[in-house]
């Protein structure tokens, strides 16, 4: 890991984390509105934890008379409330001191935003919670999004209800975990109607105001966005603690050595505390020697667990290949300017250390100027194999034996002609060479077998008397003994070298795979893309079939990615996968649960939850090493899945809100643009009827003109609505025919003249324009809409309707002398119901959308910009070269 040299963890970020670690952890159940089930969820979670043996005590729980919630309290220890305030007006509050004295593992404190009664220690409940956290008690609490200080205004604007009880954002940012309790607006409204949230009469009122569907969607989006922000924040904080984007910190640097023993975790924690005290960056490294290849599966798991723990606590981690732990460690430490090395010391007998040596002793002997801190280990519980070398040798196969024997035969054949010139004892060199080759290419076992076979062959063929196993010459006895000894040592050394080569190769391959995968995952925009990436990578890396299942809701899974098109999971496979998702443990082939299945399912875990499941299937099961590599890939994917999941939920909520907004504007437009002319017509008609004889002639005429004008206006609006509907339905077809631009414009100008009253519409058509293939009716209507728009938005000045040769085709333009278009609105104004915000003009908001729709039917492009020569806007319908006839 050469790049780790540049990544130094930021001391500040570590400090932040350290502070968070001695403190209790704060978990917040965040909801969009009352009644989504925060307290319920908190109580159910706490019940689970209680069953696992955790010491959970409630400081305060507000059931709001909801029976489902009240049922969960049963059996929960609740600290009795305390009377606060002066006599006569005694009120009850959470008894903070009693809770602190009780010092549970987890305290449940409902309603984080609550304001305490006067006379309490703190004015706000979140301050009480802060004190609990400082005392090292984990706190679970609930919060509605409208209570978050920075969102207070936004929520007030949405709901028209201002909430006075707020919680500073910093409290939320300091939370170690935020669980978003999500309920769709429809479900929540259903719950309200069933009287599960409020009493029925209150519920009715609530439904009309605070709980209007539009409000709920908006609140829900806010809650999701806030939760997503916090996750981002945490990821960023985590990254920073790991040293990415952190500046180089000179000074202290700690290095802790990790191995597969359980006690290593203790050493890691010690190192973390040490690092915090000296505000130093720290690294956790594991030296992978030949011995590492022989670790059992549980030992490997613990090793990666230890490394992961260090990573979580903010260490930079690395795995170093090497053959001697002490030397590799010291070389790395010097290279990295480490100022202190921390190692754990196992309890071992003096005899053991005399025979096998002690890494700790070697470290101390050779560390030179770097101080070494030795942490005595106490909790080595797992029974260690008596003779470590016997742990896990490469499997001995019959093919391996055959190859080893073949090497001996080759050596014998090579030695045969040499026998004439060389002394018998020199022939052992030939055999030694074959032992070396065997051990290097086929491993330790092969080397040893070749050694024994060679000793026998040498004895049989070359020592006097030949073709017997008896040895006459004492020299030869010595030669055989020396050979055997040499063969043994050569075998072990060469075997070890081979192990290291293999390990390094696998390591490099894993890093390459992980790097490639992580690049793919960062660019993945959806759960499915992330899942597909993982499936493809796993299939290629291990030559397996692979499926990735993403979590849907709380317990269901769906197939999100597969290595091949037609991979199907049976019902039983799905059940196994669900088990994995629920328990967070592997199932299937090679696992403890359902080992007979074809698939092996591993959980995709993030620090918060199981985001999905990866399943692999192959003729022969995965080796422990492969499983570890798979788990590493899974870890990366899990985070990507979670990120994608939150992003997706956010996007869906945004689309829903957008659709709701469009429906709202559509209704507003309908009600305004139809009602206004009707009001005019009805009023004028009823006035004529009631006072016909009392009105003077000009008034009468005016009223009649009103009726005509307003009816025409309504007609235009209805036409637009119809056009829009037909466009939406796709039922308009453009009948393209060659049209003369000047004809088209003349017709538009004369039709618009009636609308313009005393405003001037000027024609400005370039001479000798080619014919344009367009639909006469559509083009006429589109240009008419543009003129109408110009008349409405520019209160005075002339309107210029023109056509010019554009770069490659012909462009029709309508220019006015009004205020022009606000910067950035050039595209938005073509969207339906997008009225210019500032203008105060009551257009239908449909005209330009129709222009765009008609233009695209004819293959033309619309655009809008401000005039260069003076104030005002120019709208253009541009026909490309292909449209010229």
């Amino acid at each position: 890991m050469p790049e780790s040299a540049e990544r130094r963890p930021s001391p500040d970020a570590l400090l932040e984390q350290a502070k968070a670690e001695s403190r209790g952890k704060l978990k917040i159940y965040l909801g969009a509105a009352p009644g989504v089930g925060k307290t319920f969820e908190m109580l159910s979670d706490s019940r689970k934890r209680r069953l696992e043996g955790a010491d959970v005590v409630a400081g305060v729980i507000e059931t709001h008379g909801r029976s489902e919630t009240a049922a969960l309290i049963e059996g929960l220890e609740i600290v009795p409330k305390r009377q606060v305030g002066t006599a006569g007006r005694a009120l009850v509050e959470m008894d903070l001191d009693a809770l602190l004295a009780r010092k549970p593992e987890i305290a449940l404190v409902d309603e984080l935003a609550h304001t305490n009664v006067e006379g309490s220690r703190h004015p706000k409940r979140w301050m009480d919670v802060d004190e609990l956290l400082a005392a090292g008690i984990d706190v679970w609490s609930t919060l509605n999004v409208q209570h978050i200080e920075s969102l207070n205004d936004v929520v007030a604007r949405i709901t028209r209800v201002r909430v006075r009880e707020t919680v500073p954002d910093a409290v939320l940012e300091r939370a170690d975990e935020i669980e978003l309790i999500d309920l769709t607006p429809d479900e929540l409204i259903e719950r309200l109607k069933q009287g599960k949230v409020y009493a029925p009469d209150q519920a009715q009122r609530a439904l009309r105001h605070y709980f209007a569907p539009g409000n709920l969607s908006a609140l829900r989006e806010l809650a999701m966005r806030r939760a997503a922000d916090t996750i981002d924040e945490q990821v960023r904080g985590h990254r920073k603690a790991q040293g990415e984007d952190a500046p180089w910190a000179a000074g202290e640097r700690l290095l802790v050595c990790i191995d597969e023993r359980e006690a290593s975790a203790e050493v890691v924690r010690h190192a973390k505390r040490q690092a915090d005290r000296s505000k130093a960056p720290w690294m956790a490294v594991h030296v992978e020697t030949a011995r590492s290849a022989r670790l059992t599966e549980p030992e490997r798991m613990r090793l990666s667990e230890n490394l992961r723990l260090a990573e979580r606590l903010g260490a930079e981690t690395a795995t170093l290949p090497g053959d001697a732990v002490a030397e590799t460690l010291l070389a790395y430490a010097r290279d990295q300017n480490v100022t202190q090395i921390i190692v754990g010391k196992a309890k071992r007998s003096i005899v053991f250390e005399a025979i096998f040596g002690s890494v700790v002793r070697q470290l101390i002997d050779r560390s030179g100027s770097i101080p070494v801190e030795v942490i005595p280990e106490t909790s080595e519980r797992s029974a260690k194999a008596l003779f470590p070398l016997s742990a896990a040798w490469p499997a001995l196969t019959s093919r391996g034996v055959a190859e080893a024997l073949a090497m001996t035969i080759v050596a014998t054949l090579v030695a045969w002609p040499l026998d004439v010139w060389l002394g018998v004892s020199n022939l052992t060199l030939v055999y030694l060479a074959s032992v070396l080759v065997s051990a290097l290419t086929r491993g330790l076992w092969a080397g040893l077998i070749t050694g024994i076979a060679s000793a026998l062959a040498f004895n049989w063929f070359y020592t006097e008397p030949r073709y017997t196993f008896t040895v006459a010459d004492p020299d030869n006895v010595l030669a055989i003994l020396a050979f055997s000894g040499a063969a043994f040592v050569v075998s072990i050394l060469a075997g070890r070298a081979r192990q290291q080569t293999l390990a390094a190769r696998t390591e490099a391959k894993t890093s390459r795979e992980l790097f490639g995968l992580s690049r793919q995952l960062t660019s993945a925009k959806s759960e499915d893309e992330a899942a597909e990436s993982l499936a493809r990578y796993v299939a290629r890396a291990f030559d397996v079939e692979c499926v990735v299942l993403a979590r849907v809701g709380f317990s269901d899974l769906r197939l999100a990615g597969a290595s091949a098109e037609k991979l199907e999971l049976s019902e039983a496979d799905m059940a196994a996968a669900r088990w994995t998702s629920e328990k967070g443990e592997p199932t299937g082939r090679g696992a403890d649960t359902l080992p007979g299945a074809r698939w092996l399912f591993l959980p995709l875990r993030t620090s918060r939850l199981v985001a999905g499941v990866v399943g692999v299937a192959r003729a022969n099961p995965l080796s422990p090493g492969e499983r570890r590599r798979l788990a590493a890939m899974g870890d990366q994917t899990a985070t990507a899945l979670e990120r994608a999941h939150v992003a997706q939920a956010l996007e869906e909520s945004r689309i829903e809100t957008e659709a709701e907004r469009l429906r709202g504007t559509m209704l507003a437009s309908l009600s305004h643009d139809l009602r206004t002319p009707i009001a005019g017509i009805l009023g004028a008609a009823s006035s004529l009827r009631a006072y016909g004889d009392r009105h003077d002639p000009p008034t009468r005429d005016g009223l009649l003109a009103s009726i005509e004008d307003e009816a025409a206006r309504m007609q235009r609006y209805v036409e637009k609505l119809l056009d829009m509907t037909r466009l939406d339905a796709g039922s308009i077809e453009a009948h393209l025919e060659p049209l003369d631009p000047s004809d088209v414009l003349a017709a538009v100008a004369s039709r618009a003249g009636a609308l313009a009253e005393d405003r001037k519409i000027r024609l400005d058509v370039e001479a000798d324009l080619p014919m344009v293939r367009a639909d006469a009716a559509l083009l006429d209507q589109a240009l008419f809409n543009l003129v109408e728009n110009a008349l409405a938005h520019a209160a005075s000045g002339e309107i210029v309707v023109g056509a010019t040769r554009s770069r490659s085709g012909v462009a029709f333009t309508v220019a006015d002398e009004g205020q022009g278009i606000a910067p950035g609105d050039e595209v938005r104004i073509f969207e339906r119901f997008a009225r210019a915000a500032s203008s105060g003009v009551n257009g239908t908001g449909l005209g330009l959308a129709i222009v765009r729709g008609f233009a695209s039917l004819m293959g033309a492009q619309v655009s809008a910009r401000n005039r260069n020569d003076r104030s005002g806007a120019v709208f253009t319908i541009a026909f490309p070269a292909e449209s010229l006839a």
Binding site: S671, T676, G680, G683, S686, Y691, T699, G702, D709, G840
Partner: protein, 239 residues
């Protein structure tokens, strides 16, 4: 038709201000009010209306709520400061929140667009009558069947005491005092309830009880009418 003018000395005409951004509406309202012998001024936005209100005393203001430069209800306070006109607001049919806000801000009544001359003038008359009544002492209401003496607090229905509770009486009192005018929930809750912060739900219950005691057919009320989403209105019935 123009009963209000009879109470004034002849020659003293009432002056009305119309504020609406739609020319067609202004034209029609003007025609009606001119026919009813008002002097009429017009404005198309808040700025124009404020300019007119600064120089003239108005007896009636007709305000559209959706004006280009703001909410017409914002005009109510300055208009009140300049004189004491009856205020009718024009609003969309389904815009209850703005109606209620305008009424709470002091508007006398509202008319939902679209509307006819008869409806409009009925509201105008009720509003103007109310202005006059406020200057006299508490009147006696009597339509032959229902009779309420607001000064002596005596209620009879067809000659019999309906035995109203104090709350029901104060509701009826408030409604009759503003006969023909819509009163918002909040208005009724704060005026008839001694300022206690009771729920709209409770108000509905009391109205129901009141109807059972004074209405000829409580399920089809003819006196205490519901204005959905806004409040209640007391209407005189003539035999």
């Amino acid at each position: 038709m123009s009963d209000h003018s009879e109470r004034r000395s002849p020659g003293q005409r009432l002056r009305a201000l119309i504020v609406d951004d739609e020319a067609a509406i202004r034209r029609f309202l003007r025609s009606v009010l001119v026919a009813e012998a008002f002097d009429v001024e017009e404005a198309s936005d808040i700025a124009g209306a404020l300019k007119l209100a600064a120089g003239l005393r108005f007896d009636l203001a007709v305000l559209d709520l959706g004006l280009p430069d703001g909410n017409g209800a914002d005009l109510i306070a300055p208009m009140r400061a300049a004189g004491a006109p009856a205020v009718i607001v024009l609003s969309a049919l389904d815009d209850e929140p703005r109606k209620v806000a305008a009424l709470d801000a002091g508007a006398d009544d509202f008319v939902s667009k679209p509307f006819g001359v008869a409806e409009f003038m009925a509201r105008v008359r009720a509003a103007l009558r109310h202005r006059v009544q406020m200057q006299g002492g508490p009147p006696v209401y009597n339509d032959g069947r229902l009779s309420v003496d607001l000064a002596r607090r005596i209620v009879t229905v067809a000659g019999v005491d309906p035995r109203l509770t104090p709350r029901e009486y104060s509701l009826l009192h408030e409604l009759i005092l503003h006969e023909g005018k819509v009163l918002t929930h909040r208005h009724l809750l704060t005026r008839a309830w001694d300022g206690s912060d009771a729920d709209v739900q409770a108000l509905r219950v009391h109205i129901r009880h009141l109807r059972q005691k004074i209405e000829p057919r409580p399920d089809q009320p003819s006196h205490v009418l519901t204005e959905p989403g806004v409040g209640y209105r007391f209407v005189r019935t003539e035999e």
